[in-house]
Every structure is written in C-alpha cells, then in structure tokens.
Symmetry: C2
Amino acid sequence: MSLQPTIYVGPLIHHKSLTELEILPTASIYVDAHGKIAHISPTPTPPPAGFSSARTIHAPGPSTFFFPGFIDTHTHAPQFPNAGLFGATTLLSWLETYTFPTESRFSSLPFAKQVYSRVVKRLLSHGTTTAAYYATVHVPATNLLAEICHAAGQRAFVGRVCMDRDGFVPGFYRDESAAQGVVDSRASIEFCRALDPEGDLVQAIVTPRFAPACSEEALRGLGELVRETGVRVQTHVSENRDEVRLVGKLFPEDRDYVGVYDRFGLLGERTVLAHAIWLSEEEKRLVKERKAKLSHCPCSNTCLTSGAMKVKDLLAEGIDVGLGTDASGGYSASMLEEVRQAILVSRHVAMVDGEKAKLSFEEALWLATKGGAKVLGLEDKVGSFEVGMDWDAQMISLGQVDEDGTIGVTENLVDVYGEEKWIDRVAKWVYAGDDRNTSAVWVKGRLVHKRTDVSF
Amino acid sequence: MSLQPTIYVGPLIHHKSLTELEILPTASIYVDAHGKIAHISPTPTPPPAGFSSARTIHAPGPSTFFFPGFIDTHTHAPQFPNAGLFGATTLLSWLETYTFPTESRFSSLPFAKQVYSRVVKRLLSHGTTTAAYYATVHVPATNLLAEICHAAGQRAFVGRVCMDRDGFVPGFYRDESAAQGVVDSRASIEFCRALDPEGDLVQAIVTPRFAPACSEEALRGLGELVRETGVRVQTHVSENRDEVRLVGKLFPEDRDYVGVYDRFGLLGERTVLAHAIWLSEEEKRLVKERKAKLSHCPCSNTCLTSGAMKVKDLLAEGIDVGLGTDASGGYSASMLEEVRQAILVSRHVAMVDGEKAKLSFEEALWLATKGGAKVLGLEDKVGSFEVGMDWDAQMISLGQVDEDGTIGVTENLVDVYGEEKWIDRVAKWVYAGDDRNTSAVWVKGRLVHKRTDVSF
C-alpha cells in the first residue's frame, strides 16, 4: 500500500534513553510512501527530495505533540466484556468464576465480532499501535480477531490459546486433545500467514495459556511447532503463589516454573512471559540467559492481589521488560493507565525496598514504548522516532485553561495553565490524561484513529 | 430559593450498609421545592400531594441510574495547577519544591479566579457535590473560592490555611504572625457567614496546615477561635514518617502527633484529620474517644510514597473514615478515581495482611458517599437517598455496545454488553468510568452540571 508522503510539523517527544526524553519543540518529521521516517529535522528546513509535493500535518494548538504509539505486550481480547468484574477473587478462582465462562462464548462468531471490533477500536483510541493479544481456543474467532486488526491497521500478534489439561481446564472450554490443540494452533498460524504474508502488520503467536492448563504432550507439540515455524511465543509465568505451588505439583521433575517452558523449547528470545512476579534468582538467571522477555502487568497484579513486580531490579539485571494491560485482570484498555499503575506499584515496592525501586514517569513511558518494542522484537521498527523506522505515532493534545477557567472546545482532563515546561506537560498528560488527549493515531504512516474534535 | 418540584424516574442505587448496595431498578424519587426528598417509591405510583404539577426527569437509556453525589473530604484547591507534578519527592521536599511556590501565587486574584473557577467546575463534572477545600493563607482569594462554590451551587467547606512557624514555612508564603493568622482566619469565617448565613451550602472551616507549620501561639489561637465560633476543623496528621519525627522534635512535651492537636482543643468530633497513616494504637484510641474523623487519601499516599492506610482496620475499630482526592499530592480531581485507588491500595495492604484488608468496590463507594457525609457532619442531609434528605445526586450513564462493536453517540469508556446484572454495571462504572459517565449533577435539588450529550 502506497501512501502520500507526509510532513508532520510540531513538537516531537520520545526517549533518548530509559530515563530521559528528547524534546524537539519545532520538529519536522518526513514520512515516506511506505510509512517510514525518511528524515527528522529539529527546525523548519526546505523539504528533502521526494517531499516537494508532500502534504503537511501541523500539530494544532500550543500543547499538542507527537509521541510514539503505545505497545501493549500482554492483553486478552475476549475478556473485555469482564472489565471491572473480579470481586475479591485471585488468579485461580478468577479464571473459574469469570474468565473461562466468558471465553467459552467465543464459539459464537457474532459475539466474537461484537467484542473484537470494540476491543480493537478501543485500543487504537488509546494510542495502542501494537498489541500482543490472547484470543481463545476457537480457531474461527481467533482468525476473525486477526482480520479485524489487519483491516483496522493495528500492528498485532494474535494467539490462539492452547489449554487441554484434564482436571484443570473445564469440560465446556478446552482443546479437544493435546494433538488437536497443536493442529488448531498451526491452523491459526497458517491463516495469519495467508492474511499478511510479510507479517508486516499481523502475525500469529504460539500461546500455551500457562503451564498448569497444558499437558506435557501439548507443550511438547507447541515447542515443535515453534521450532518449525519460527513464530513467537507468549504465556504466563509466576503470577500468583498458589499457581507457582500448583506448577511444582504438576511438574515435579522440573526445577521450577521457568524450567517447565525451557524443557519444551518454549523459552527463548522470542518468548514473552507475562507477570513474572515470583521468579527465583535461578529463574531470573535462566530468563536472562535465554534472553526471554517479560511483560509487567501492574494493574492486573494489584487487582487480583497477585503481588508487586520489582521492575527496577529486573531492568538493572539487564532483563527486557515491557508493559501489558492484561484485560480483564487489569480493568483498563489504556496503556497510559498502565503507565500510571506501573508508577504507583513501584511506589508500593519503594515503601519497603526504598527509593531505588521507584519508576519515574519517563521510565514508565519507556516501558510502554521502547521497552515493549524490544519485548516483541520490534525495536528496529517502532517505539521511538528514528530515520528508517515506521511512523507508529500518536498526536497528543492537552487542554489550555483560559482566564475565566474554561478550556475551550476540546474536552479533556489535562489542564495546562500556560507556563509549564514541556517536560511538565508530559507529566500532566501521564497522570491526568486519557483517550481524549489522543487526537490521532498512525500505524506505518496510515491514519488509524482520529477524534472528531480535532482537525488537520 | 424555591425550585420546581421534580420527579426523578429510573434506577436508584445507593448504600443499605457499608458492604451492600440497594438497587431499585424502577424507582420514582420525589424532590420538593426545597430540594429535599419528599418520597421514594420503588415502583411507578400516582404522585403524592404537592407533585401533581411536578416535572419529571427520566433516566435516559437502559444503563442510566441515579447515585448519591460524591463527598471529597480533603483537597487543596490552589494545587490543581500542579496536578501530576511531584517527581520523586516525598511530603517535605514536595511542599518546598512544588506546593509553597504555587500557593504563594494566590496573592493574585486573577490567578485565583482562573484556577478556582476551573477547580469547582472540574469537581462538579466528576460528581463531587460536597468538597472540603484547603485554600491558601490569602483572605481575598479564599473568600473568592467561597463565592465561586456558592455561585456554582457546590456544597463546600472552605479553609483559609494557617501557617506561621519560623524555620519551616518560607518567607515568601506565610502568615505575617500567629496573631495575624488568627485574625485572618476569623475574617474568612465572617465572610462565609455573610455569604451563606445558614451555612446551608458554604461554610468556613478552621485550617491549621499541619502542626509543623504552626507555632504554639497560632494553634492556641485557632483552638480558641473554634471554641468561640463552633466551626469545623481540618488539618493533616501522620502522613509521612519524617513528618512524624519532625513533630516529635518540635513538640517534645506532647505524647504524640494527635496529642498536639488535642492539647490545643483542635481534636473533636468536628475535626477532619487527613492521611493518618502512621497513627500509634494510643493515637487511634484518642481519635476514637474524641470522635475525630479521618480522611483517607490513597492516591496521594502512594504518589508521595507516604504509606498505605489500613482502612479496614480503622473501620473495624469504629473510627469514621471518608475519602479525599488531596490534589495535588493526588493527581486526580475525580472521586471515582479515588475509589479505585482506595481499592488498589487495600490490595497492597492485603498482600501483607491478608484478605481481610481488602476493600470491596461497594465499601470504597461507601467511603466516597455515606462515609464522607459522616466525616463532615452531613450524615442526616446527604450521602444516600432517604426521605427528608437533600437531593445531592448524580445521573450515571454507561455505554451500550451494539452488535458491530460501536457504542452509539455517547462516548465513554464503560462498555455494557447488555447481559450484565445491575451490580456488575456498577462495578464496571467504578473501574472504567470517568466524568463522561456523570451525565448530570444536582445539589439540594439544583442542577449544577449537565453534559451536552445528554438530554432530559
């Protein structure tokens, strides 16, 4: 697909490093017909070759800036109808009470269409340009999710969920057998490859739900499928202490939870492990050695009383970490909310471990952009703005408070009084912002979301 | 002021008890010309006497309900320009870096007008029908805040801040002297009494910032002022461990922090103590004996790494607790956000103390309504819907997801798929909701906020 070359003019904000944002208040970003960044100029300059007839999009208003799209490294598309419904449950009772009954409904394609259409729209409206989705066991509904992402223009990893273990998964919602589960996972990989042969936008991802839900035969079969096809892997690990004990009981021959995945060839640099709260030192060592990636899901971890990940320690040890909304363990589809939750949880860790445990808002934003890109193997494509990378971006517009205390036509919750430095405007967005501030969203240069109250 | 008698028809939801909501799906609420609830009928009935020519307001749409207005028991109106700006500071460094410089700007009335107009609009739009505000040391700006609340129709306690202690408060922002501070506090009380002689809507509240900011002479003078005028008191206590140690050093003759306020006659059933995280058993005993009230500020407590209040323990001990947004220690003006934060913080407490520490969403909503009413002495007037009480209410409208995944004209973040029970709809609102769901707000029967996308 060829696009009109476009020059984006306005403040550009992205990460220089984990701890520091680069702010170019008067940037011009030149995006070519393939949606790639061809050139970035910190000040107005004559357009380079190929951009003489480009259109120009100006950031409107004094508090509008361009920021990298968010990367959600872990969420469950079919669980959105349950957002906010978890009561006092913890992981294992929550699965049984809320999750399995709802996921089983995705045998119905009309229901899947209703929910998945809503979910993809929601995530785009929150500025999530890339998402790693768990679907359900159902191949048709999983393929539909891939189609919806592809049509909407969202970058996505779509995982058919594998779960077959007798005695754990319910009779009404499970793979027919270990062998059938592997066959179905293969079918969903083939579907995605036919849909998007280059895997430029949508890719399948092998998705054993988590070790306790899978037989050894299923895990072995998925490991072989991964070796054969080279697709990525996502699963859960060490979210809840009861779950960790259960894994010890179900897999007595393995040294630990991470060791189970390793034994079946499911732990590698193309693996995303969600939660990873209760890893032992030995497990962390193995994660690092295998270059496996972690998805931190602070909102979910708090809601289900799972625990608090010590994310600063993991980063300091050189382990790759991104953020995940983990609906509906987490109640929000918004990565900006997840950024806030990451900061808040780090402060609860700091109440015990001291100052060094605190995430700054810059660090939390890094997890949601560059960190997530690394976790999903997209670090050369997205997560920040560099020449040669794709234009996966969001236009962020904040409110401006007039003299009489009104904020003009755009309704949102971020009040800028006019004297704030750019770095403080970003902080205000992080803490008070929501989807109303995400005026427009692009993936690979294509406009995939635009609010009706913004014009350019 | 006389109002047109009005019948509100639609689902009514409020608390039966701390743990349980009463849900009347087809209620009619009859509100008289004084804004008082004259009658509530769980089913459609002929109107009682006095309502034959009343207008009727129907809750529009299938997921709209009436809920009591929120009661914010602790917030700082002048700190809203700093919302989200706190970096890695904790209480004492935060005051110095962010708070005192911003509060000092309220010597300017145009600035005060800009900020306070915005703040009162914001709080009403979030469904906050009653707020206990800290203002600044400045009498004219404090009086302006009272006027703005009164004109907007918000129920408010407005406190001129008293702070005079040499060596703690900065030269550029302080009371001229202890005596002048008391004179100024008296002036703000007299202003409010002239503005609203019955104190029906707006009342002054005596507001020593907190013990470390006040000389003994000031505290003594304020204690006498309270004894003489009978107005309520609000202050901070035991928010941060360094602060607690500082009080020990500054008031060596007092047994503890709570004891300081008690010595000066500032601890009674008309006192609201904010934070109260690190109270000793002896302090809790004295708080309970004096029937003093507590304001739990979970968002602020986490942001400033102050600690986590064990709110369930305090409730179990029979101490009265409400919720406070505590801007800008907390970053949000929304009590619904504070409800969420109270739940999340209780889960962090539960990670250590076990299940009993968890607040349910019903309990957290109770803190934001009936709990807050008790804390501010308004339990006979507001916080739930009973005959004889005032109509302080919000109309909550949730989104309805169509078959193709769109949600119709009203844009909001709460997705209702149609099969949810009422209690689950309330849970969805608590976790995903924001000001977009607050379609309309009434105080004492007067419409004080209405979204443009709702009609009735």
